[in-house]
Amino acid sequence: MLAITIAIFIPFMAALFVPFIYKRVRSRNIGWFVMSVPLVLFIYLASLIPAVAGGKTYIHTIKWIDSAGINFTTYLDGLSMIFGLLITGVGSLVILYSIYYLSEREALGRFYVYLLMFMGSMLGVIFSDNLMVLYVFWELTSISSFLLIAFWYHRKKSRYGAQKSMLITVSGGVGMLAGFIMLYTMTGSYSVREIIGTIGQYTNESLFLPAMLLVLLGAFTKSAQFPFHIWLPDAMEAPTPVSAYLHSATMVKAGIYLVARFTPVFGGEAVWFYTVTGVGIFTLFWGSVNAVRQTDLKALLAYSTISQLGLIMSLFGLGSAALNEGYSADSVIYTQATFAALFHLINHSTFKGALFMVVGIVDHQVGTRDIRRLGGLMSLMPVTFTIAVIGSFSMAGLPPFNGFLSKEMFFESVLIIRNLDIFAMGPVWGSLIPVVAWLASVLTFVYSMIIVFQTFLGKHQPDRLDRKAIEAPVGMLIAPLILALFVVGIFFFPNVVGNYLLRPAMTAVYPPFEGAEGLVPHIAAWHGFNAPIIMTIGVIVVGALLYTYLRYWRGIYSLAPMRWNLDSMYNGLLTQTEKASSFLTRTYMTGYLRDYLVYIFVFFILTVGGGLLWTGGFSIDLSNDAPITISEYIIIFVMMGASIAIIFAKSRITAILLNGVLGYSIAILFVVFRAPDLALTQIIVETVTTALFLLCFYFLPEWSKEKTTRSLKVFKGIIAISVGTVVTVLALVVQGNKMFESISVYFENAYELAGGKNIVNTILGDFRAFDTMLEVVVLFIAGIGVFTLIKLKAGKGDEDVED
C-alpha cells in the first residue's frame, strides 16, 4: 500500500516546512502544526488495526536499484503496527508536552525539525522490508538522536553525551550492515520476508553465525544492552521530551524491533537463545543495580530504562526457543515469553513515558531533579504525584496497573524455561535465570519507590529548590495523564491489546505457528495462587524491607571499585584513539610537498607496475608501427637530450630555454603527425609560457643549487626512472592490445552532422561544445586567480584569520 510509503516521508516533508512556518510564527504555537503530523499518522494507522488483526498485511514496492536487490519496499504487519502506533502515538503526546515544556527562547524550529526527522527515520526502520533501506533509516535515527541530545550544544556534557551515543550506536550499526551483507551473500536477497522464507537451508553456512552476531551487535548497541548501555545515561542531557520519546519509548526499542524481526531468521539457534537471553537478563540486573544508587531522577530513569530493555530483550531470547523444533503442541508454550515481551514493550512505553514527563515537570517547576533536594511535593503537586504513583507502581509490577500483568507473565516465562530440555540447558542455568530475574525485580521495586517517596513524600525543603513548587500548567499534564490512563486501562482490558495488537505481531514473529492454539494466551490478572504470584509477593515484601532500610545498605555501592568502570574504559579508549590517530597523521602528513608526491608516485608504481606484473600483461606488439624518417629521429633525440639537460642546468634561463626547445619540437612533431591545429596552438602557447616564466624570473631569486645528499638524489632518480618505465611499458602494452575499434569514424561524418570540414574544430565547437565551454571556464577561473594573486593586498589581520 503506497500510503505506508508516504507515511514514512510525511514527517520529512513536514520538517522541510517547519523553518518557514517558524519564521512567521515565532512562538510555541509552531508545536501545534508539528503535532498534527504524528496525530494524523496515528489515526491512519489505528484505522488499519482491524484489518491487520484479521491477518492482513500490506506491502508496497517502489523499484529502486533493482539490479543490486535494493528496492524501497514497505511492509506493514502486526509487529510493525505496534511500533508504528508507539512512534506516532507517543510522538503526538511528547510534542504536546514539549509545547509547554520548552521555553519560547529556545530554537524551537530546529528542535522540531530534528524531532520530525527522527520520527520519519524511525517509521522508515520499522516499515522497511529491504535491509539496505532499513539500515539507512537506522543510521538516520542515530544522527537525529545525536542532534537532539546535543540540542543545548553550548553545554559540554550535551556534546559529550551526543558524541558517545553516536559513536556507540553508529559503530553497532556498521556491524549490523556487515551482517546484512552476509545475509545477502547467503540468501541472495535483501528482503526480510524472502530471507525468512529461505533461511532454513543456510543455517549450516559459515557466514550464518557471524551474520547473526553482527545483527545482534547492532540491536544491542541501539537498545543499550550491557556493555553498550553506557551511552544512555549520558544521553539524558537531551531535553526531557526527547528523553521520553527517543531514549525510552521509541529509538532504544529499535534494537528490540530488530531482534523481534529477526527471530524467525535466527530463532531456534542455541547461540541466539543464549546471547539474547543472557545479555538481556544481565542488563536487566545491572541496570536495576545501578538505578538504585542514582540521585538524579533522570539518571535513575535512564538506568531503569536500560534494565527494562534488558527484560524485554531476555524475553525475546526465551521465546526464540519455540522455533527450535518448529511447531508442536509442546513448543508453543515457549512463545509465551515473546507474547510477554511484546506486551511489556507497550506497557513500558506507557508508564516510562509518563514517568519521564513527571520528572520533566518536577525539573521544570522547581528547578532540580536531585532527590536529595526534593521531597514533600505531594500536597503541592497532587496531579503530578498521582501520575508518578501510577507510573512507578506499574514499573514495580503492582496491581492495578499494566506492569503487573506483564511482570507476572515475565515470571511465568522464566519459570517455564526450567523445563526446557534443548540447548544443553542444565538445572543450574535453568534455575539461575529465574533467580536473577527475581533479584532484579526486587531492585526495580526499590527504585520505583525511590521515585515516588523521595520526591513527593518526606520533608519539603523549599530553601533548597530554585523555584517555589506549584502544580504544572494543564497543558503539561495532559500528555502524561493520557499515558497514565493507558497504564490503568490496559490493566482492566488487557485482552483488547492482546487480540488486536499482539495476535498479529505474534504471527509475524512466529510464521510457522500461524493460527496455532495457545499462541495468544488469555491475559488474566488473577490466575490462582501459583508460582508467579508468590514471586510477586516476595518482590513486594523484600523490596519494601530493602527500601525501608535503604540507608543502611546503600553503603555497599561505595565499597565497589566504581572508579574502574565501563565509562572510564570508553573515555580511555577515546583519548587513546585520538592520540594514536593524531600521532599517525603527524607522521606522514609532513607538510612537505615532496613527501606527498613520493606517496603518490610510489603508489602509482606499486599499483600500475605491480598490476602489470601480477596479471602478466606484457605482450608488446610493434608490428603496427609507422615508418620513421631520419629527420624525425633527429627531432626525437634532440628532445631527449634537451630534457635530460634540464636536470643538470646550472641556471634557470638555460632550463627554461631547454623547455622551449621541447615545446617547439613538439610543435614540429604535431606537424609530422598531421595535426596542424595543434602545431599552431602549441607554438603560441609555448611562446607565451616561456615569456611568462621569464617574467616571473624577474621577481624570483636565481634558483639555488639543490643542496641534497647523494643518497637522496639516487632515491629521487630511482622513483623518477621507475615512473618513467612504468608509463612507457604501460603505453607499449596498450598499443599492442587494442581491444576496441576506434570511435573516431563517427566524427568523420562531421560535415553532415555539424556542417564543418575541419574535424578537430567540429569536435571542439559542436560535438563536445560543453567541454570546450567548461574549458573556457577553467581559463577564466585561472585568470581570476592570477589577477587576485597579483593585485590583492593581504591585510595585517590576515595572519590571525588563517589560523
Binding site: 609532513t590 607538510g591 615532496r594 608501427d625 609507422a626 615508418p627 620513421i628 629521429y633 626525437i636 628532445m639 631527449m640 630534457s643 635530460i644 634540464i646 636536470i647 632550463a655 621541447l662 613538439i666 603527425f673 598531421r674 595535426a675 596542424p676 591545429d677 595543434l678 596552438t681 602557447v685 609560457t689 611568462l692 616564466f693 624570473f697 621577481f699 624570483l700 631569486p701 634558483w703 639555488s704 639543490e706 626512472i721 615512473v723 618513467g724 608509463v727 612507457t728 603505453a731 596498450v734 598499443q735 576506434s742 568523420e748 560535415y751 575541419n758 574535424i759 578537430v760 569536435i763 571542439l764 563536445r768 581559463l779 585561472a782 586567480g785 592570477v786 594573486l789 597579483i790 589560523d803
Partner: protein
Amino acid sequence: METIITILVGVLVTVAVYLLLSKSLVRVILGTAILSHAVHLLLMTMGGLKKGAVPLLGENAESYTDALPQALILTAIVISFAVTSFLLVLAYRTYKETGSDNLATLRGFKDE
C-alpha cells in the same frame, strides 16, 4: 615510430618526476610543464601516428588521422597553460609573502 615516441614520453616523464621532487618551487612548476608535454605526446601516440591524411574533409583523402586525440590535446594544451601560469603567479606571490621559494622551509604553520 610509435615505439620511439613512447620511449620519448618515458624519458620526459622521468625528467618531470625528478623535477617535481625538487625543493625549489620553480623546478616543480617546470616539472609540471614537462609532464604535460609528455602527456600530450602520449595521447597522440595512442591514436596511432601518421595513419592517414590531415583531418580536414576538404582533402578528400581515403582515410584521415584519428581526430579525437587531437581535440583532446588541444583542450589539454590550453588547460596546462592555464595551470602553469597560475602556478607561476602563485610562486611569485608566495615568494613575496614569505621571502622563500624553498618548499622545505615552507611547510605549514609552526603551531599546527
